[in-house]
């Protein structure tokens, strides 16, 4: 259910809206990526000699309900910190898109 009532920033507007989130997790710069190196070698063997700096990561998508984009992003950041990424070796970024699609 998407709520479209209430002025922007009105604290009384707590109806949850639907958000689609795309999370990208990659190894931090400086952390050797054995998979990325193997993929890069394979690309070169196939003739893609211009391929460089290949890094293999993870893509995670999820849906959630939150009153606004900021709240949704806050929850996603917490998900990343606690579970989706390991801050010792990984970094993350995410996109928050309104709607179910």
């Amino acid at each position: 259910m998407t709520s479209d009532v209430g002025p922007e920033g009105d604290p009384s507007m707590t109806a949850a809206r639907s958000w689609k989130v795309r999370v990208y997790v990659t190894l931090k710069q400086g952390v050797l990526d054995p998979q990325g190196r193997a993929v890069e070698n394979a690309l070169r063997v196939l003739g893609f000699t211009e391929a460089a700096d290949v890094r293999v990561g993870k893509y995670i998508e999820l849906g959630l309900k939150a009153p606004d984009r900021e709240a949704a992003a806050g929850r996603v950041a917490e998900m990343c910190r606690r579970l989706l990424a390991n801050p010792v070796i990984e970094q993350y970024r995410y996109d928050v898109i309104e709607g179910d699609a």
Partner: protein, 236 residues
């Protein structure tokens, strides 16, 4: 003393650990399911190897949130011995009970073969039955044992004698060729600051009997017994 062997969905080395404690050491041992929240009455906890939660997301990443892990953290905080073997080590890393993280093996291969480990610190609850510098023959079986930590953490581990086991050649040299997975500094096992939590990738439980061709792993378990029973003169 009583031993606990913690079992998560996907753990597969619990039988071997149980066998070594019950049939080789002849000590009381019980399985503890990951949904249990108490470790009362146990003197040592083993987090065995396997593929908890199918290694989904990252090795150990989901198991660390199992209900039993609160009890494991409390057990460790009380100064009691916790040993994580292979996937158990990975879970301890994800839980923050040990520093660092595991990456895929440098070779990208699942490595299953014997390794040689030099005892870098024989004054721990896990190695007090070993001689300093002794080389142990214990096998590995893992795809993600490539230990990583930032330089400051590595320096601190080395300075404080917290690198307990290092991959070496049979004659004790920590060469790149002796390193099966790309681990920084050839690290095979580390302890926490307090010294009562050990993580190690090799499997001592499958190397504890003459029948199986390797016996050095028994020293790890016998060290824990000596520690708990107060017979270890030189560990902390």
């Amino acid at each position: 003393m009583r031993w606990a062997v913690v079992v998560f969905p996907g753990t597969n080395c619990e039988l071997d650990c149980h066998h070594v404690i019950a049939d080789v050491l002849r000590q009381p041992v019980e399985y503890v399911w990951h949904k249990d929240t108490r470790l009362d009455g146990f003197d040592a906890v083993i987090l065995p190897g396997g593929f908890s939660y199918g290694d989904y997301l990252r090795t150990g990443a989901i198991a660390r949130f199992s209900p039993v892990m609160g009890a494991v953290e409390a057990f460790a905080a009380a100064g009691r011995p916790v040993i994580g073997i292979c996937n158990g080590f990975q879970i301890l890393l994800e839980a923050g009970l040990l520093p660092g993280a595991m990456r895929r093996n440098e070779s990208l291969k699942f490595r299953c073969h014997e390794t040689f480990l030099r005892v870098e610190n024989a004054a721990t609850p896990f190695t007090n039955r070993c001689r300093p510098g002794q080389v142990l023959r214990i096998p590995i079986k893992h795809g993600e044992g490539n230990y990583h930590a930032d330089q400051a953490t590595l320096d601190e581990l080395e300075r404080a004698g917290r690198v307990v086991l290092r991959y070496v050649t049979p004659d004790g040299s920590p060469t790149p060729g002796a390193n099966p997975n790309g681990s920084l500094n050839n690290i095979a096992g580390i302890i926490n600051e307090r010294g009562n939590v050990l993580g190690m990738m090799p499997h001592p439980e499958v190397a504890a009997e003459r029948l199986l061709g390797m016996e050095d792993g028994r020293l790890i378990f016998e060290s824990i017994v000596a520690h708990v029973e107060g017979r270890a003169s030189d560990d902390r």
